[in-house]
Each structure stands twice: as C-alpha cells, then as structure tokens.
Point group: C2
Chain length 424, copies 2
C-alpha cells in the first residue's frame, strides 16, 4: 500500500517502539533480545481502517432486521437510545473493538453518543481511532441541549489532544437533523482546532428530499452555501449524488466513506463509487453500525464493495481488488487525514500491521494476494495484529481485553435493550 504498491515475496519488517524502522526482502535473524513474529505462509499487510462506525451499536446486532425504516427506528432504535448511558456505550464499544481486532481492523472512525467512553474503550483495547460526539438539534441523552454538545466536543478535543491512539473530530449528524446554525458552529469548531468535520451526506433519497424542501437546494449546494466544503470534511455514505455534485465535492477536496453493506441492507441505494474515484475524490470504506450490517468485518465489506459496483455498472473490470484493498487501508487513512501515520507499511509510519494466514483451503492456491484478500479471505483468517507497534492479537488470541468478560457484559446489556423495545 506504499505509493509503488510493492509486494515483497519474502520480506521482513523491523519495528522499534511504535514505528516501522526498517523493511526489505530476505528476512534476517532478529537482533538479540528482540521479539520476532514468523509470518510464514501469511500475507503481511497494513491494518484495515474502518472509515465509519457506530461502535456501540454492536449491542443492537440482529435485534431488528428486515423491517421498514420507520418501524425499525420507532420501535427499536429510538426507544433504546433514549435510555442509553455511558456504561452501555462502553460495553458496546469494547465488544466492537474486540470484533474489529479479531477481524484485522486497527483503526476506526466513530460517530455516536458518549464518545469519551468509546475513546476510552479503544484505548483499553489498544486501537487507533478518530471519534466524535454526534450533534443534532434535539436534546442528547449524554450532553442535553446542543450548545452543550459543542462544549462537550471541545472538551473531548482538549482531553485527547496528543494521545498516541485517539483523535477527535466534530460530528454533526446530518443535514436533515442539524440546522444551519449548528452546522456553522460545528464547522467553526473543527476549523479552530484543525480537526476533521464528519457528517452523513445523501444517504437516502428521503434525506435529500427533506434538505431540498427545507433549503431549496441539494445537500452539496447546502454545504457549500454554509462554507463547509473542504479537505477537512468527511462525508459518510454519499449514495445519492448527481455528477455535478460529485464534481463539486472533488473540486473542494471533500473525502467520502462508502458503506455498501449498510446501504444495501437498509435499501438506501448504491453509491456511485467509481464515478467518485474518477472525479478524483478520496474514498474510504466503512461498515456503518451493527444494527444495519450486522458485523464489522472489513474483509466481507471489501468483497461486497467490489462485486456491487460490477453488477451495478455491468462491467467486471470496475473496482478491481487492488483498488478495493486501498479503500480499506491507505485511501481510508487519507480520507480520515491519518495517512502520515497509518494505512501502509512504510519506514517512518506507525506499526499498524496484520497477518492473514493463507494456509487454509479457502485461501489455496494463491495466485494473487489482492484477489485472495478481497474475494476469499474473512476477518477470522487474521492471526496477528500490531497497533502502534504493540501486539494486540497473537495466534487469534486477543491480548488487550478479557474476551469472556466483554461478551458477558454485552449479553447483560442486551437484556436492557430487549426490555426497552416498544411493544407492537
């Protein structure tokens, strides 16, 4: 995933502290007293980056599927979220971190409530993250009225400044849930602190219609009129965009996160990803939350992303495996503004590295590592995970969390969820 897309057939990587310090062909014996991981039979690649999650929604996995959107929100998601607290979010985020590490993800970008708990969970799990409190014009069970949400976000920015793993973004929810004054204030806050601004854009036709009805313009023009289009903007979903809107986003350097499984499962539509790439936009891949996916496995997300565009455009050559793997690594890092730190294996970058064991029937024979990773591998083919130079999984054993305790707490919290669902 370096600029030359190098593949070393029999290589080595030396890590010192949190950083990749040397690499090349022909492994050497490690210097005395150093720890070595033998990746024989494996593909060593940069840790995957999940560009859009609502981590704590792991606790909603499989709660309510195959339903009309309004019933899903009204009976299940809203009543449960209204009664939510920090403990609940931490439990869900820890479960998410466990799942992400076990499926080879080393960095995630999150939007939800009680994000300080999500940052804490990531830190405990040893994961890299970019997180931000969701902001909207109605009251939040975390911070109350929206002014407090901006204040809470600024507090997060100060609290986590200079943390080696956690970064903070300003995250207004969407154009139909945030009025112009909130959006402008959010943009100002992000600009003042030089952090990303993250928002859902054009996820459904209905969102766009509501924006058009309220403001007399489409979502991209609305963002432009508020002065929010720019390289620090990360637009999640981007499903329903015209070619003119894509040009405008590209010209402004706006980044997109594509979430194909969620867009399919919620029947939102298919994002015009090859068109965005052709226009020069940076597009990363994300899973969205587990209420609409229902997992955080970026390997199956890559598979879906590639195949979906081929059948949409009736062209087997679009979204080739190498392009898709980049969207889950270096391009996603670029979209999140983290490509100086992670997303590729290069000297000077932080050591976010995973190993995929190919000595399995479904990964045999091996002709092409890109094809194998995108079209055949699964999250649980990952055997080792290093984040920021630290081993967090070895031989599929999670080293940073007590997995049984994390799953046990999640099962307890699922009882609270069931109790809060609105009867029919």
């Amino acid at each position: 995933m370096n600029p030359d897309a190098s593949i070393l057939e029999d290589g080595f990587i030396c890590v010192s502290g949190d950083t990749i310090v040397r690499m090349g062909e022909k492994p050497e014996a490690p210097p005395r007293g150093r720890h070595a991981i033998d990746a024989e039979g494996g593909i060593v690649l940069p840790g995957l980056i999940n560009g859009h999650t609502h981590a704590a929604m792991t606790l909603f996995r499989g709660l309510a599927d195959d339903l009309p959107l309004l019933e899903w929100l009204d009976r299940y998601i809203f009543p449960v979220e209204r009664g939510m607290d920090g403990d609940f979010v931490r439990a869900g985020a820890l479960l998410a971190c466990a799942e992400m590490i076990l499926s080879g993800t080393t960095t995630f970008c999150d939007m939800y409530l009680f994000e300080d708990e999500v940052a804490g969970a990531a830190k405990e799990a040893g994961m890299r993250c970019l997180v931000g409190e969701v902001l909207y014009d109605f009251d939040s069970p975390n911070y109350g009225p929206v002014e407090e949400g901006l204040r809470y976000t600024e507090w997060l920015i100060r609290k986590w400044r200079d943390d080696p793993l956690v970064s903070i973004a300003v995250e207004p929810h969407a154009l139909f849930t945030c009025g112009p004054s909130l959006l402008t204030a959010a943009g100002d806050l992000a600009g003042r602190h030089h952090v990303p601004l993250i928002i859902h854009v054009a996820e459904t036709e209905a969102d766009n219609a509501q924006v058009r009805e309220t403001y007399g313009k489409g979502p991209v023009d609305h963002l432009k009129s508020l002065g929010l289009l720019g390289p620090n903007l990360i637009a999640d979903h981007c499903v329903h965009l015209s070619s003119g809107e894509i040009e405008d986003l590209a010209a402004a350097g706006v980044n997109a996160i594509h979430n194909p499984e969620s867009n399919m499962k919620l029947a939102s539509g298919i994002a015009p990803v090859p068109e965005m790439l052709a226009a020069g936009m940076t597009v990363g891949l994300g899973t969205d939350g587990c209420a609409s996916n229902n997992d955080l496995d970026l390997f199956t997300e890559m598979d879906m992303a590639a195949k979906l565009q081929k059948v949409r455009l009736l062209d087997p050559t679009v979204m080739d495996a190498e392009t898709v793997l980049k969207m889950a690594t270096i391009e996603c890092a670029r979209a999140l503004g983290m490509d100086a730190v992670t997303g590729s294996i290069e000297v000077g970058k932080k050591a976010d590295i995973i190993i995929v064991d190919t000595r399995k029937p479904h990964l045999t024979p091996l002709y092409n590592p890109y094809s194998q990773l995108v079209y055949a591998a699964r999250g649980n083919d990952v055997t080792h995970v290093l984040i920021n130079g630290r081993p967090v999984m070895a031989d599929r054993r999670l080293l940073t969390l007590d997995l049984e305790a994390v799953m046990g707490t999640a099962r307890e919290k699922s009882k609270e969820v069931k109790a809060r669902v609105k009867p029919r």
Copy 2:
C-alpha cells in the same frame, strides 16, 4: 427448517446410524455407550446445501479476476481446461470438499468435467452430492465427442445407483452450447432414469440474445418447445427472465438455483428472486465455481443474497433472513429433489447437521438466530459437521481428509495452471 420452522431453545437430537431418530426439548443424558456432542452456546441447524458448483475450479481461485469475460475465458479458463485430466479434477474437488465441510456445507450439486472423480472425492470426504458430467456440442477432454458424453453419463448413473451419498444428474451445459438434438437426448436420458436434468439458463443477456438469434425465441420458450420444462429440471442462474417466463417456469414446476456472488462478480446481472418466489418457484442458493466467486462459503452467499435484493428493489423487507436460510437448506434440497433426505432436522431424515458456535464477539449478543446466521456468521464459525450420521468435522478439525496433503496437491496443480495460461 421443518414445516413449522420450529426453534428449540434447549433441545436434543438423537442419531442412529445415518438417521435422525428422536429430537425434542430438554437434553437427556445419552444412552450408555453412545457418543454425545455438547452444542452449548451453539446454533444447531441442518447442513447447508450448495445448489450449484464447479468444485474443481477451486484450483482457479484468484487466477484471473476483474477482467473482461472474453479475455478471462480465452487466456485463462479455456487453455487450462483443454489440458485438464481426472487427477486435476480430483485434486480440485478434494480441496472444494475440504472448504465446504469447513464452512458448514453438507451437500453440493456439481457440474464439470471428469465427474466420476468429483463423486469419488465427495465420497472420500464423506459429503453428499448430486453431480453430472457437463455435456456440450464440442469435444470434451474427458469423454471426447458428445455421444460419448451421454454414454459416460449413463455409466455414472449405473455406477453410483444406490450409493448412500452420491446421486447423478444429466447436465447439458447451456442453450447456446448445446443444440436441440443434444438437449432432447439429455432430457430423454434423465427421464428414462428418473434423475434431474440440470442446465445453465439465462445467465447473461448475451446468452439470451444468442438463443433468440439462433432459434427465434427466448430461452424458456426454447426449453418448452423441446419438452424439457418440468419438475425434474434445475435451471442454474435464471438472471434474465421476463415475468411471463417466470410464470411459465413456475407453472411447469421448474426449480432455480440463485448464485448472487458469481452473477455480481462476472457482471451478469441480478436474478429476480423475490419475483420467482412470489410466482411459486422453488429457489435454492449456490456459489458457482471459485473462478467467479472466489469461495464456497454459503454463509457469505446468504448475506449477499439478502442484501442484494433489498438494494435492487429499494425495500428492506424483501428476502428476510429466514427466507434466505431456507434457500440454503430445505428449499435447496427441494430444488435438487433431495428434500426427503436432507435440508431439515426432522425425525426420519438423514443426519446432515452442523453446529455454529455463537460465543464470539461478532455473534454477540444473540437476539435472533436467523439474523445472526445470515448477516453475521461466517463459514469458519461452524465447529461440527455431521453428514449422513457420520462426524466429518469436530471442533473445526476435518476428520475425513488429510488437509495438508489436499492443500499441498492443490499448490502443485496450480503450477500446471500457471504454465498453461496464454501469454498476452
């Protein structure tokens, strides 16, 4: 997957020989001297059924992806298949059986060359299968001219008659590769021996156009005029069908096998599955071969099948998880004419049973087993597999094949493949 779609929360199943003899709620201690499998924390379900494979094409996995169809066929598939022999097919089929068992598939339906080797491989692996030699109007590297293909098929039928695991079908390739006389002879042979007739139908727009140009009618009318529409016909793919054609297939009792991942990856199109189901057709699920998927995991195939129809019809309620799980079990058994034997856990049926371990982060919490199996589980969450009453996998250890030897032979064969690819 019984007619009542029962879910027992804490149940037991007794198997004697190859057959399920008793089941119910509240596990009992097994009778003395009997073997017991504790499925605590697991979902016990019927073994999955792969309705359409070209098993030996595992040896082409990742060889040539993201290419235009003609380059793919002309440079890769055709030159390699021309030099193929029985050893090659057996090696690929054994690799496929290993992969299928390890991902919870207990029965598969195959179409390829040297099918006696595929039957032998399935038998060695302990898998149930319905297989048939592919027939077309040009010479085959196995049997030579087409008349010999019919003779070879009849020999297969006699050889494997009364085998507990292997059944034989008559399998002309497609309407654009088999003329009317071959199709009629194939139909006669199938009718004479009361075995299924299996053929690719309407996989691509180009197939349909060629049939229309040659015969002045669409694929379904062409099959009808040859007298081939009937309940013993299994039509693979069925991507490009009009509503009138769906009505005709349904009225005749024709069965369909849906292969969403292959249809997406080859950019063939999206089969109108909800429409086929609404018309009353029996539709099973398949993976197609590994050259166009690139794996044989029916769990991810189910996920794709559900999500693809939702986004196609912009309706999150279509292809719900229960419907999709049926397409990979009882409905697929029905499509293959094997529902008296397998596809559900019922007293009197053969014991084709798998256990999915849910004690993992990506399967926690558990609200709904259908959702979990379709939207979150993966093939390698399966821990135990019984086929025809025989344990073939226990705690993810394959009991019937030497996995290292199977993978080693596949790697050797992949060198032959690479040597035969036509240079650009």
